[in-house]
């Protein structure tokens, strides 16, 4: 079975992660309930005509994908796989509202065409004229992880050699407010802003010097908190690792009541490891964990953990293996192992 290496990683987020090499040093504090990503200048990446039809999610996705391919020095991937929790929600809202407002009359197709979940993967294929494998996952907070699992399987089974994988969600204009309204009615609801972003990576079967390896990934629909330790142990066992081999853990804390899932990791299983969180900086959304993945890659590459994401005391040990763990409302658990080769 072939290994899976990471040739590039790019993220557009609520922080200066795209346009600055300054690794999360200057942090933007978001005090609002929802916040938009810092959009790159799309004209550097997309023609004005194409951009006019695109909502922010597709724009961010195309830009992040283009830069990820450039950094990996890859013109044409063998496969394009993306994940999105809410899909093209802005265009969906636009078309839905025009149906309601005009009682089904005077409609134009553009926002309908752009509203399907696969719009981003399709746009990337069109721009690159890429006829290869193309897929889109829309599985809430496991959307990006599903795309990663598919990509890893393609590489392992020698069905592809270089794969573009990404996760994207846009804030939209209306639905997000309803979701927040429900959250606000809950005493222990999500306590970080609702955000958006696009994170892309190029996975490859080819090993390069100093590269990062995606060791393994697994997801689970449901786990009770008392079975979490067992699940993590068997995941580490599968990879011939034990708890002490993990140098850093990246967790999806969002301030809601389900953060107790992370507590077991921070207070007993991985006390020795650097403990990292990120959703206070980039917000919560279904593909927020794709940022966690980007963050893990950057930390391994730079051997530096930015102060803004570190929860416990700084360690001077080299960082070789990172475990990324995310869950949403106690469901859709994902575990990812990254290793510096």
């Amino acid at each position: 079975m072939r290994n899976c290496y990471i040739h590039s990683a790019v993220s557009i987020s609520l922080q200066h992660t795209f346009d600055s090499e300054d690794f999360l040093a200057d942090i933007i504090i978001h005090n609002s309930k929802k916040a938009k990503a810092i959009y790159p200048n799309y004209k550097d990446f997309i023609s004005t005509i194409a951009a006019r039809r695109m909502e922010s999610g597709v724009k961010m996705g195309v830009i992040a994908a283009t830069k990820a391919l450039n950094l990996a020095e890859l013109n044409q991937p063998d496969a394009i796989i993306t994940g999105t929790g809410m899909g093209c929600i802005a265009d969906t809202e636009k078309f839905l509202n025009s149906i309601i407002d005009n009682n089904e009359a005077y409609l134009t197709p553009t926002s309908f065409i752009q509203s399907t979940h696969n719009t981003l993967s399709a746009n990337i294929a069109l721009i690159l004229n890429c006829h290869g494998y193309n897929n889109t996952y829309a599985h809430a907070s496991l959307s990006f992880e599903s795309a990663l699992i598919d990509a890893k399987l393609l590489l392992e089974q020698e069905e592809a050699n270089h794969i573009l994988v990404g996760g994207t969600d846009e804030l939209g204009n209306e639905f997000v407010d309803y979701v927040q309204m429900i959250e606000a009615s809950n005493d222990h609801g999500i306590n970080v802003p609702f955000g958006e972003g696009a994170s892309f990576t190029v996975l490859s079967s080819e090993k390069k010097p100093n590269t990062i390896q995606l060791l393994d990934i697994t997801t689970e629909n449901k786990i009770s908190n008392d079975k979490l330790k067992h699940k993590i142990k068997s995941f580490l066992d599968d990879n011939k690792l034990n708890f002490h081999d993990i140098d850093a853990i990246i967790l999806g804390n969002n301030g809601d009541t389900f953060d107790y899932y992370y507590e077991q990791l921070t207070s007993s299983l991985f006390v020795h490891a650097s403990q990292i969180h990120y959703k206070h900086l980039i917000g919560e959304f279904y593909t927020a964990s794709a940022f966690g993945f980007w963050l893990g890659i950057k930390i391994l590459q730079k051997q530096h953990i930015p102060k803004a994401v570190l929860k416990n005391v700084k360690s001077t040990k080299p960082i070789k293996i990172i475990l990324i763990y995310n869950q949403f409302k106690g469901e859709n658990h994902s575990f990812i192992l990254l290793k510096k080769c």
Partner: protein, 399 residues
Amino acid sequence: MTSPRVAITGMGIISAIGNTVEENKVSLFACKSGVKTIKNISTIHAGQIKVGEVKCTNETLISQLQLSSDNNFTRTALLGLIAAKEAVKNARILDNSLYKTGLISSTTVGGMDKTEQHLKQFKTSPESQKYISSHHASDSTKKMADYLGITDFTTTISTACSSSTNAIMLGARLIKSGKLDRVIVGGTDVLSKFTINGFKTLMILSDEICKPFDEHRKGLNLGEGAAYLVLEAEHIAKKEKHSILAFVSGYGNANDAFHQTASSENGQGAYLAMQKALDVAQLIPEQIDYINAHGTATANNDLSESIAIKRIFGEKVPNFSSTKAFTGHTLAASGAIEAVYSVLALQEQTVFPNLNFKSKIKETELIPTTEIKKTKIKHVLSNSFGFGGNCSTIIFSKE
């Protein structure tokens, strides 16, 4: 290590022509279309379209599933669960926790049927608010996983009209790699004002029952439905003494990379998907006995698909038909619905007809099978193509 073969051990379906596999089979043999005037949705386009509606109200489905009265099931989830439950029962699976079991579902509209009814009441009506969390695409998948007791791998694919074909493909790949022993794969989509108006703006809806592959085809009929297959590694199926209905022997996924909603003139994406599926199945085109075509009856799809079929099969095009005139185009569910029909074709050694065909398309001159035809069928190739150039093909084999 050689990878296991992917056995199909169960099927479930609900569509415009029946609420079970048996009912669908009866309608197929009776050449009875389920496409009619729209009943369940009030739309200004009612007089200008025909649709394939499932003949059950939500209330009937809710009581059939014995759900509590305060449930927030969308119709998408209801249809999905009915079909998935039948598939699991058909495979005679009693406990989904004994093997590494997954669920891969697919949908395009997700919970849109409820969203479009309640959107403007979300802010004020507590009764509407329960449908805020059921909008996103994975809501129906999660409800099915919970009901069927699947805690392991679950995911949702959304690649427009090729969605459930990609779900079958991923399921087959996960079994071949040994990552799963058993996986329930398929898709569910319901009629909504959103899709009716969307396709209406694209001017590809027919005002009569569609005529796939006919020179004078006028467009497609939208439909709704759900279908699921139980896939198992062959050795697990045998160990459990499950009947093997057929095998998934080949699959291919390619992108047309031509246009967001239109298919290319040479059918490149379709051609590549079919070629890849033949390669995976290690078959030559001559070994395919029946093609269940995508055949939506739009001017663009049927021509492009015909060209792609001719590029693969040359002058020796096997029996082929589109079953869209029976069910309407059920979007994400269509690949899984047609997978059930493909397996039925293998079991019954029967090509199901392409209804309403009269005159061949001038450019390609292909003639589909227009009547029930008993013939020897070992391998069936089934196509599904979608917006965004997503083209996928599955090959089902008897042995």
